[in-house]
């Protein structure tokens, strides 16, 4: 294998059998990856594959969960490489330690890889150009690249990338490839269809649930019916009599039934007779909220931020506000119920299924089965939603344990009921908000929160804008599991902080947009302590959405709510319009302005933000999880209710602030401002301040 490499830039190029070339690049900002560099130099690994037959394959390194990165990440490479987007193929990469952070979470895929993938594309382009220039014996500077060809305009000569690949692979890797001037971008910033669009609408196998392998068995698992219960005696006689059932195996705290079809596995699973023993307290949501209240009524815990003198400000105030907000537990409810394929055989493991963290699944399976990571392969198909559920490793790990115990390749399928009862939930929270007001201004802001698990933390833009500010949070220990749910932290904090900001505006008789701009101006000009946001960028989205929605002009019968939030590096402002129809509020329009740096795929970006808004409306209005003696009362979509087409606004208008800065997060930031903007609109429409989620049950 002919390889050339430069230690300085960690790019590796190697000749492919058949004369193509492979290029890989490692993230430089991850200590774990930097540490592994010595081992991975020279190992073939690809973001770009150019084959002798002319086909060009770009690999999307991060899991695709509906956030569009299977399209947007290769777009970045394609832009710099200079290929015709319609002629390339895109594949999801398997887990490969040379590809850096292969995680779908924290709205981090595009923002973490933008510069990296530009360099990957530019490096390949430069090497192909050099190869062409050498073969023509002309200066490189006279050569240009377009649609997968290097062109020498002066002589009218052209060579395709495929024809140049072998020669390019033998060249020194450029230490610092020249990136395109963004003004020359042809693909980035345009509307590009999802690369799987056709496969999706024609029903082709794409998802984990569609996995079919030779000799594979289908499995369903009986897990504890409540948190706090553990596995006791198992009688599998009836299960084994079900036609198609092949095996029953015990793993950890569960029992799996393996069969020749999903239906047989389910019948077998349902025929198990299991004694579940209550080994811990069986908890109830009602008790959680009662305890929250007690915790919030006590003198407060140590604040994580304490500017000025909040108590003194309260005493000298013309008016004090003191209100409490309640937020329920939520399940993820991704449309594709969890599943995973595993084949543990002869000291090797093949794993294939939906996960946002393939690396974590592999490392856990390695530890549990005592099989070294290099003997474990893992890759993910396209996934039917994530929303944070698959940042947990349980589905993949469980499948591996079942395959190992049963000595068979197995596709584990969860039912919706399994998903609902075995989630890592968005924790329930309660918040007490207090404000001290003069006749015309906000003197002090005091927020105090409590949530299940590790507790709540975080600030809004108020921190830094006013002299007296205190924020504190506590956690309530529970055996109900908690996890990451789209825009973790932000999705609840935005609701309470921006609803309360509206209450402050009402009390002060201030316009909600004007008052926020007033605060942001103070944060910019007379910053109190440190701020983690850019007041100018906040202003950019507030100004844009005010313009889009014609804020300040009266529309008869239309009641408006406003909110703004910063998360994952991006700024979002929204206006929600509500109209009363037959005495019931109906959301008619949503306007949304976003500042997320440079937009990669305009179609995907707009879709993400519209989707986040619909998601935000859905979870503000309808679902909640209630624990009753450790069991989830809402077992499926008949009681865990999602928004329906009739609940969706007629239009959701999204605009992006034009920006030349590097891209920031986009899978999550559109969601947090929705619930408060809606609450504020509902207050305008009904005079009723909704301080408890979800809203629908309080409006009926």
């Amino acid at each position: 294998m002919a390889t050339t490499q430069s230690r300085r830039n960690f790019l590796k190029v190697s000749a492919l059998a058949g004369g193509g070339m492979l290029i890989s690049f490692n993230l430089l900002n991850l200590p774990a990856e930097a540490h592994a560099l010595e081992e991975i130099l020279f190992t073939p690994n690809a973001y770009i594959k150019i084959a002798a037959d002319g086909s060009i394959v770009l690999l999307a390194p991060n899991p695709e969960i509906g956030q569009g990165v299977k399209t947007s990440l290769p777009m970045i490479v394609a832009e710099e490489l200079g290929v015709d987007w319609k002629k390339i193929k895109v594949e999801l990469a398997p887990l490969d330690s040379r590809m850096g952070r292969q995680t779908a979470g924290g709205s981090g895929s595009v923002r973490g890889r933008f510069n990296e993938l530009r360099t990957v594309g530019a490096t390949a382009r430069e090497m192909l150009t050099t190869a062409a220039a050498q073969s023509w014996n002309v200066p490189v500077t006279e050569c240009t690249v377009e649609n997968g060809e290097v062109i020498h305009k002066a002589s009218g000569r052209k060579l395709s990338f495929a024809a140049l690949a072998s020669a390019a692979a033998k060249l020194e890797v450029p230490a610092k490839p020249t990136l395109k001037d963004p003004k020359e971008f042809k693909l980035i910033g345009t509307r590009v269809q999802d690369v799987d669009a056709h496969k999706i609408v024609t029903g082709q196998p794409l998802f984990g649930i569609d996995t079919r392998r030779e000799g594979m068995l289908f499995a369903m698992v009986s897990r504890p019916p409540a948190y706090g219960k553990t596995l006791g005696e198992v009688n599998d006689a009836a299960a084994l009599k079900v036609e198609g059932v092949k095996k029953v195996v015990k793993i950890k705290n569960a029992v799996a039934v393996l069969a020749t079809s999903t239906w047989a596995a389910k019948k077998g699973r349902d025929a198990l007779v299991i004694q579940w023993n209550a080994s811990e307290k069986l908890e109830n949501s009602a008790e959680h909220f009662a305890t929250f209240k007690t915790m919030l009524d006590k003198p407060t815990a140590t604040p994580h931020r304490n500017d000025g003198d909040v108590d003194a400000a309260k005493q000298g105030a013309a008016k004090n506000l003191d209100v409490t907000y309640e937020i329920p537990t939520l399940s993820h409810g991704q449309m594709e119920p969890l599943n995973f394929f595993a084949n543990v055989k002869d000291g090797k493991v093949e794993l294939f299924g939906p996960t946002q963290v393939p690396g974590a699944v592999r490392s856990e399976v390695s530890k549990l089965l005592g099989i070294a990571e290099e003997h474990i392969t893992i890759s993910s198909p396209r996934q039917g939603g994530g929303f944070g559920r698959k940042l947990m490793t349980d589905n993949g790990v469980e499948a591996a344990l079942i395959s190992a115990a049963a000595q068979a390749p197995v596709q584990v399928q969860w039912t919706r009921e399994d998903d609902m009862q075995n989630d890592f939930y968005r924790p329930a929270e309660m918040w007490r908000y207090r404000a001290a007001l003069s006749a015309t201004d906000l003197l002090a802001w005091h927020q105090s929160g409590v949530g299940i698990g590790r507790g709540v933390r975080g600030d809004s833009y108020v921190a830094g804008a006013i002299a007296n500010y205190r924020a504190e949070g506590q956690g309530l220990t529970s055996n109900t599991p908690t996890g990451w749910w789209r825009a973790p932290g932000a999705n609840t904090l935005a609701f309470v902080a921006e609803s309360f900001m509206d209450e402050v505006c009402v009390a002060l008789k201030k316009d909600p947009v004007a008052f926020r701009l007033e605060l942001l101006k103070k944060a910019k000009e007379q910053t109190v302590g440190k701020i983690n946001y850019d007041p100018e960028k906040y202003k950019s989205v507030i100004d844009l959405v005010a313009k889009m929605s014609k804020w300040g002009t009266k529309k008869p019968g239309v009641f408006r709510g406003f909110s703004t939030w910063f998360s994952f590096g991006s700024y979002v402002a929204q206006v929600v319009d509500v109209q009363m129809v037959d005495g019931q509020p109906k959301i008619s329009n949503v306007y949304c302005a976003v500042n997320c740096g440079r937009v990669i795929n305009l179609s995907g970006a707009e879709n993400q933000v519209q989707g986040s808004i619909v998601d935000g409306i859905c979870h503000a209005m309808f679902p909640k999880v209630t624990f009753v003696n450790g069991a989830v009362a809402e077992t499926n979509f008949h009681t865990y209710k999602f928004l329906r087409m009739k609940d969706v606004p007629s239009d959701i208008e999204v605009q992006f602030v034009q920006s030349d800065e590097a891209p920031t997060g986009l899978g999550e930031p559109g969601l947090p401002p929705v619930a408060p903007a809606l609450a504020n609109a509902l207050f305008a429409a009904t005079g009723k301040r909704l301080r408890k989620l979800p809203f629908a049950e309080q409006l009926a």
Binding site: D194, G203, D210, W263, G384, F387, Q608, R644, M645, V648
Partner: protein, 155 residues
């Protein structure tokens, strides 16, 4: 187990299954037609929507023994070459995010367009309210149905 004859996407097939098996699993596990998706198993989400004699039904709660001579059409059979006006509109407007629910959405929309070639927003809201999309692609779904209706009317 029992041998059951079915008419699926214009072809007659015989499957040997438990007669109580929902059509969804017969399609997916026995006929390898995996475009029809499992979402809830209780006819609440619409991911499993197929056509039975042209009408949209939820295949997750329909026992295979109840199908009899009624013709089944799945997402794989709605057009021979994947160019049903709805499929084209879905691609053109880049409707999908995760894509998991979209086969069911298209099957519900196809049944709507058969009954009502020029649906209003309200008609769409009613016909599509049995289908959940967790990613929130509803606004584009509505637009795609209007676009497909327009394409169909020109044919």
């Amino acid at each position: 187990m029992a041998a059951i004859n079915l008419n699926v996407n214009g072809k007659t097939v015989t499957v040997d299954v438990d007669p109580a098996t929902p059509v969804l699993w017969v399609l997916r596990d026995h006929l390898n037609l995996v475009g029809t998706k499992f979402g809830c198993g209780m006819a609440q989400c619409g991911a499993c929507t197929i056509h039975l004699n042209g009408n949209a039904v939820r295949s997750c709660t329909l026992p295979v023994s109840a199908v009899k001579n009624n013709a089944i059409v799945t997402i794989e059979g709605i057009s021979e070459t994947g160019d049903h006006p709805l499929q084209q509109a879905w691609e053109e407007l880049d409707v999908s995010q995760c894509g998991y629910c979209q086969a069911g959405q298209i099957m519900s929309a196809a049944s709507l367009l058969k009954r009502n070639p020029k649906p209003t927003d309200k008609d769409i809201d009613n016909a599509m309210s049995g289908n959940i999309c967790r990613c929130g692609t509803h606004v584009r779904i509505r637009k795609a149905i209007h676009l497909a209706a327009k394409t169909q009317s020109k044919k």
